[in-house]
């Protein structure tokens, strides 16, 4: 299954990409997405453990499966608004 992962802030700057296309096997979990991003973009590795993920605008932990019908996966550093 093909997914585009949107990157924000420093994650986007390090990867030099606004989105990364990934081919996810069925049953893939968020942790797998994290690992694949590190492989695809080695520049992300220093911050990889701290990156946060969201599926369809909801935070998702490493153990959560990526639903086949997910329409948007996002990856970003800890937030710093306010």
């Amino acid at each position: 299954m093909k997914f585009a992962v949107r990157l924000f802030a420093r994650a986007r700057d390090l990867a030099e990409a606004e989105r990364v296309e990934l081919e996810l096997p069925e049953g893939a979990r968020v942790g797998d997405v994290r690992a694949m991003l590190g492989e695809r973009h080695p520049a992300l590795r220093p911050v990889l453990p701290s990156l946060l993920f969201a599926i369809d605008h909801e935070y998702a932990g490493d153990s959560e499966p990526v639903p086949q019908d997910a329409t948007e996966i996002a990856c970003f550093p800890p937030v710093s608004g306010g």
Partner: protein
């Protein structure tokens, strides 16, 4: 009400928008661009958001605040883009029949906004360098149930 905007935040209008005769207390919080941070001089901040998710999280915050306290209107505005020294980056206004609730809800909303709503700031230091601000968020541990095996 919550909104992301690239325009200057009008705190007077925001405060007026929550006032009501059934609410004797209004609390307004403003976050503004501070000149010195940990001894370094800032000249500007750039704010970026993941807008659709930020709206979702702000709506959740409003609902959570309403579940905890008896509140009238709530108004939250976060500015995006380039902000200069002293500019208002975020404003939270809450009205309530009771001041205790207004203070607690106001504090809850800004505290939670800062750890949950996907917005990021980039420092533009006076020495010409720039730097994303990415605190070790509480969300990191909260949302990652598994330890991710990584090679560093």
């Amino acid at each position: 009400m919550h909104r992301l905007t690239r325009d200057p935040i009008d705190h007077a209008a925001l405060t007026e928008s929550v006032r009501a005769t059934d609410c004797g207390a209004v609390v307004l919080f403003l976050g503004t661009v501070r000149e010195m941070t940990d001894g370094r001089r800032t000249v500007a901040l750039d704010y970026e958001a993941y807008p659709a998710m930020a709206e979702t999280e702000l709506a959740k915050l409003e609902a959570e605040a309403r579940a905890k306290w008896t509140l009238g209107e709530i108004a939250i505005v976060h500015r995006l883009g380039r902000l200069e020294l002293g500019d208002i980056s975020v404003a939270v206004a809450v009205a309530s029949p009771h001041r205790q609730a207004a203070f607690e809800a106001g504090k809850f909303l800004i505290d939670e906004l800062k750890v949950r709503v996907p917005i990021w700031k980039k420092e533009n230091w006076a020495d010409g360098t720039t730097e994303w601000v990415h605190p070790e968020s509480e969300m990191t541990n909260e949302c990652r149930n598994d330890e991710f095996p990584n090679d560093h």
